[in-house]
């Protein structure tokens, strides 16, 4: 008996030892099962150290020339990482050229910016630092500012086995941003978790309008990410001051085309359009209902829809159901400083 007991004890020790050897990948992102897999660059696999460093840098005001703003100044978590301004404001109140986009599910985006000019999140994360109308600073000067900072030294070392530098800055911010997963709206609960009570009657009617061929909304705003990552002209203007995609490609057929925005949390990301020209969702719906101004590059799906007042109201109600409260209140995304 005694012998058997000790045998069992040994077995228990062996078993528990084995268990600690099994590598269970840590789920940093909590991606819903109805979402696609996210491509993550092999050189920038997610680790807690990288996410922590990226989070600290995301809220680091020393990255701006006058230490007045951080990434988090325009990408505010309680507004689904937008700023409620028509056009983003940088140091010294300088106006940029476009509306601040949401960062919800940004890790799925294939090319960055509304014109797709930048290929990767790693490249994008350096952009606001250098841009005159944003942080107007340089990485070289930022590195001087944090030269004696032991915590940064430790964090860069743990995250990338490197001294602080552009590589770790760009990679870690991208890593942090890839954790911005929003997939727990009432729409998700209704659509994918089969909770019939999650949507109100108006929202359900609005859902039908959204997915109908009459409107064709879902042709471009494809669930579950509510974008197809294409560039489209929706007939906002006859003459576009900001030529959008054509700014990158120089192609006349790309004038006035902007990346189809993801609609997750759209009720919280006003104002709308590349230049923030629509203040409310009602105005946006009205634009699509009217069918655009008929720009030569306008997508044929943009045509007069003839929606009733009820359908328009229902559509707006449905868009509200894409709000993900747990996303905007996720303390993992908040300022750690």
């Amino acid at each position: 008996m005694k012998r058997r007991f000790s045998y069992l004890l040994v077995m228990a020790v062996v078993l528990s030892a084995c268990q600690t050897d099994i590598e269970v990948p840590v789920d940093y992102q909590k991606i819903p099962e109805w979402f696609p897999e996210m491509d993550i660059p092999a050189e920038n696999e997610l680790t807690q150290a990288r996410i922590d460093l990226g989070r600290k840098l995301f809220y680091e005001k020393k990255l701006s020339r006058d230490e007045s703003i951080s990434c988090g100044s325009c990408h505010q978590i309680d507004k689904a990482f937008t700023d409620a301004q028509p056009i983003a404001t940088g140091v010294e109140g300088r106006l940029g050229i476009r509306n601040t986009p949401t960062l919800a599910n940004i890790g799925y985006t294939e090319r960055m910016f509304m014109d797709g000019g930048v290929k990767t999140l790693e490249l994008q994360s350096q952009s606001p630092i250098f841009t005159h109308e944003e942080m107007d600073f340089t990485i070289a000067e930022f590195l001087l500012r944090i030269a004696g900072d032991a915590e940064y030294q430790r964090m860069f070392s743990e995250a990338y086995s490197q001294e602080p530098g552009a590589y770790g800055i760009s990679r870690s911010i991208a890593a942090f941003e890839r954790t911005f997963i929003s997939g727990n709206s009432r729409f998700d609960q209704y659509e994918y978790q089969h909770d019939e009570t999650a949507l109100s009657a108006a929202e359900k009617r609005g859902r039908d309008v959204f997915f109908s061929t009459k409107t064709g909304c879902a042709e471009c705003h494809v669930p579950p990410l509510f974008t197809n990552f294409e560039y489209e002209n929706i007939g906002l203007y006859e003459h576009y001051v900001d030529t959008g995609r054509a700014r990158i490609t120089e192609l006349p057929e790309d004038v006035g085309k902007f990346k189809v925005p993801n609609l997750r949390n759209v009720a919280e990301t006003a104002p709308y359009m590349h230049n923030g020209s629509f203040a409310t969702l009602e105005e946006v719906v009205e634009h699509f209902n009217a069918g655009g101004v008929g720009h030569v590059n306008q997508n044929p799906l943009i045509r007069p829809l003839g929606l009733t007042e009820q359908e328009k109201a229902d559509l707006v109600a449905f868009l509200h159901s894409l709000t993900d409260e747990s996303f905007m209140n996720n303390s993992d995304f908040a300022d750690p400083n």
């Binding site: 910016f113 014109d115 000019g117 930048v118 290929k119 990767t120 790693e122 490249l123 994008q124 350096q126 952009s127 606001p128 250098f130 841009t131 340089t138 990485i139 070289a140 000067e141 590195l143 530098g165 552009a166 590589y167 800055i169 760009s170 990679r171 700014r247 990158i248 120089e250």
Partner: protein, 266 residues
């Protein structure tokens, strides 16, 4: 006992005498200290360098004068301009001869008027008859991530002067800023800003210069850039601003002036 000692001394003396009559020195004819009288090589041979270091003296000009910041000069149409920023990426340095092409170890430079001397690294000693380089950055590097380059590379975003367009991945090959007289009759002074940021693969200039040299020691090659010549034919009053994509005609005009603005002194 005595006999043994004698023999030992005799052998020692003999050894000394024998080695003494074989002169030691460098016996390799290709060495610079070859000793024709040496019979035994003592490992002292010294060889001439088979490679030489090439420095580039990249001299900034404004027309016929040396470049100076904040100094009014008169452009092609008689309009006053002055410069507050002037920097240019050079890349792809190589030397050509009949046997082919030799890449220089330094491939990327970010040149500014403050610095005139740049180390291009060492190449084999031989005859060369051309030097070639680009004003701009080759397309592979131009679409790379500036955070991925080593910190001491001109393309690294750790570099304080690094010039990269963040809205459309690519380096700003030529970055020139300053002030210009905007009066129609060109009677005023240079007091309105102008900004030219020129890039994109299409506007890179790949330049080749005849440059004959028999390399047998470190040298300094001299090249010049005339920042005023870059604006030849451009109406800066009507085109005070080109970030390339927003004013492609002005960007193309400036890029087209590069072959005249950059020269290598033979």
């Amino acid at each position: 006992m005595k006999t043994k000692l004698f023999f030992a001394m005799a052998i020692a003396a003999g050894t000394f005498a024998f080695s003494g009559c074989q002169k030691e020195g460098c016996t390799d004819k290709s060495a610079t200290n070859y000793d024709s009288k040496a019979q035994k090589d003592d490992g002292s041979c010294v060889y001439a360098d088979t490679t030489s270091d090439i420095m580039l003296h990249f001299h900034p000009m404004l027309g016929s004068s040396d470049f100076a910041y904040d100094t009014e000069v008169t452009n092609w149409e008689g309009r006053k301009m002055k410069f507050t920023k002037a920097q240019v990426y050079l890349s792809g340095f190589h030397l050509n001869n009949d046997d082919g092409t030799t890449m220089l170890p330094t491939q990327y430079l970010l040149t500014k008027p403050e610095t005139m001397m740049y180390d291009l690294g060492s190449v084999p000693n031989t005859h060369y008859h051309e030097i070639a380089f680009s004003v701009g950055v080759d397309s592979v590097a131009n679409h790379s991530d500036p955070a991925s380059w080593p910190s001491d590379n001109a393309l690294s975003s750790n570099n304080p002067d690094h010039a990269f367009w963040n809205w459309n991945s690519g380096y700003i090959f030529i970055e020139v800023e300053g002030m210009v007289d905007t009066t129609a009759d060109m009677s005023g002074s240079a007091n309105a800003p102008f900004v030219y940021h020129i890039g994109t693969d299409a506007l890179r200039n790949d330049l080749v210069f005849a440059h004959h040299m028999d390399l047998d020691g470190d040298i300094t090659m001299m090249a010049m850039i005339d920042y005023l010549e870059l604006f030849n034919g451009i109406d800066v009053r009507l085109n005070p601003d080109s970030h390339t994509m927003n004013n492609m005609p002005a960007a193309m005009a400036l890029s087209a002036n590069v072959p005249n603005a950059v020269t290598v002194v033979e």
